[in-house]
Amino acid sequence: MTRLEGDALLAHPLARAVIEVVNERGYELAEVTAFVARASISEAEFYRSFAGKAEVVLGVLEAMIAEFRRRVDAAYRSGGAWPDSLRAAAHETARWLLEHPERARFAMVSTVPAGDMARARREGLFLWGASLIDEGRSVATDPDAVPARAGVIAIGALVEDLRRHQEGSLSGDIPAALPRLMYASVRPYLGEAAARRELEMPLPADLRRHRR
């Protein structure tokens, strides 16, 4: 049998089992025996692909990050010029989060105690998001005046909000937060007037339906 990884892992019952068990019990208390029982596979089958809990959790996290990035990158690349491209990416991010709340919780909250490798994967994703925001530098009227880490600060607003949403310590719905996150992302590059236009941009119909 080939090793389970990437999309094959994400489509396998084991990935769903890992996500559910880690979300329910927390990383520390989640055990391989629970993963295999929930996925209805044997321990032998599990250990043919993974050395243990840390490896399967990291594998699932990597697979979901790769899938998320493909989707958001495709939206960004077909979104037109910046900031339209960034808005398209933000909308696709919101769709993914609404479609996969359990994956979002797994990535943003449940796997925080999962060690440095998991943290590095998450950080890598966030910095990739920051790089999409920072492509605004290419259309900025004065690129030299844009703070060097404007993209990092802007993505941080999204990341921290998401973390607190997932924890339940911040109320409000995801689509409602999009205009102000776009405002914070656009302002350093194109200025106040362009940022303010983001506040007036209508949400796509599919996301409007999720407004509470």
């Binding site: 990383y27 520390e28 925080v112 105690p113 999962a114 060690g115 440095d116 943290r119 950080e123 966030f126 910095l127 703070p147 060097a148 880490r149 404007a150 990092v152 600060i153 802007a154 993505i155 941080g156 607003a157 999204l158 990341v159 921290e160 909000d161 973390r163 607190r164 924890e167 310590s169 937060a177 205009p179 102000r180 996150l181 405002y183 914070a184 302002r187 350093p188 106040e192 303010r196 506040l199």
Partner: protein, 222 residues
């Protein structure tokens, strides 16, 4: 009735209790000081009680006399760092009573603190997120405190009232994430560069570019 000579009398009970409490606090402080770099370097979850015993040079019984367990030790460490940081921020802004000046100097002190004490800063801004529910709620409380402070800036600066709702939350979240990245990235950061960026992203939208330039000029020597 004959009285005991002075040197044979026992010390007053109250004094003895205070002395024991002081000893206890002193020992707790010592263990916490040594636990901070362990939590920061290994991460909260990877840190074991054995690591803390070895670093603090205490036995297991003694450790549990001082703390309820790992989480309690972490929370004491968190509070100790926060108390030190608050003191430094307060001192830095003590000469100003205006919101903008206090914010400017407070941000400067915050960055200086993070660069001077990277392990302590990492404990509060990074490890607190995995240090259990209480630590996480204190970390969230810290962000909410910063949020309240920035909202006060909107109230005191007429121009900032036009900022969109949620601007302060985005600023605080962005700042927290940015500082975390600086702490996780081992490369050296220049205080001036970091400070310039943070002030430009957080303070300038609230007070405006011209007042910020004036403020920079008036506080340049600070």
């Amino acid at each position: 009735m004959a009285r005991l000579p002075e040197h044979l009398k026992s010390a007053p009970t109250g004094r003895e209790q205070v002395s024991r409490e002081v000893m206890h606090e002193h020992q707790r402080d010592r263990v916490v000081a040594r636990a901070i770099p362990i939590f920061a370097k290994r991460g909260y979850n990877a840190t074991t009680i054995d690591d803390l015993l070895a670093a603090g040079k205490v036995g297991v019984g003694n450790f549990y006399d001082l703390f309820e367990g790992k989480e309690d030790c972490f929370l004491v460490a968190y509070e100790r760092v926060m108390s030190q940081a608050r003191e430094e921020l307060e001192q830095a802004a003590a000469d100003r009573d205006d919101w903008a000046g206090r914010t400017y100097l407070g941000l400067r002190a915050l960055i200086d603190f993070g660069l001077a004490h990277p392990l302590e800063a990492r404990l509060v801004l990074v490890e607190a997120q995995s240090g259990g529910d209480v630590a996480l709620s204190r970390y969230n409380g810290l962000l909410d405190e910063a949020l309240t402070w920035l909202r006060r800036g909107r109230e005191e600066n007429g121009g900032a009232r036009a900022l969109p709702p949620g601007f302060e939350r985005a600023s605080v979240s962005g700042l927290a994430f940015y500082l975390q990245q600086c702490l996780l990235e081992p490369s050296a950061h220049e205080a001036e560069e970091l400070f310039g960026e943070v002030v430009g992203m957080i303070l300038e939208p609230i007070i405006g570019a011209t007042p910020l330039t004036r403020l920079r000029g008036s506080l340049a020597a600070v």
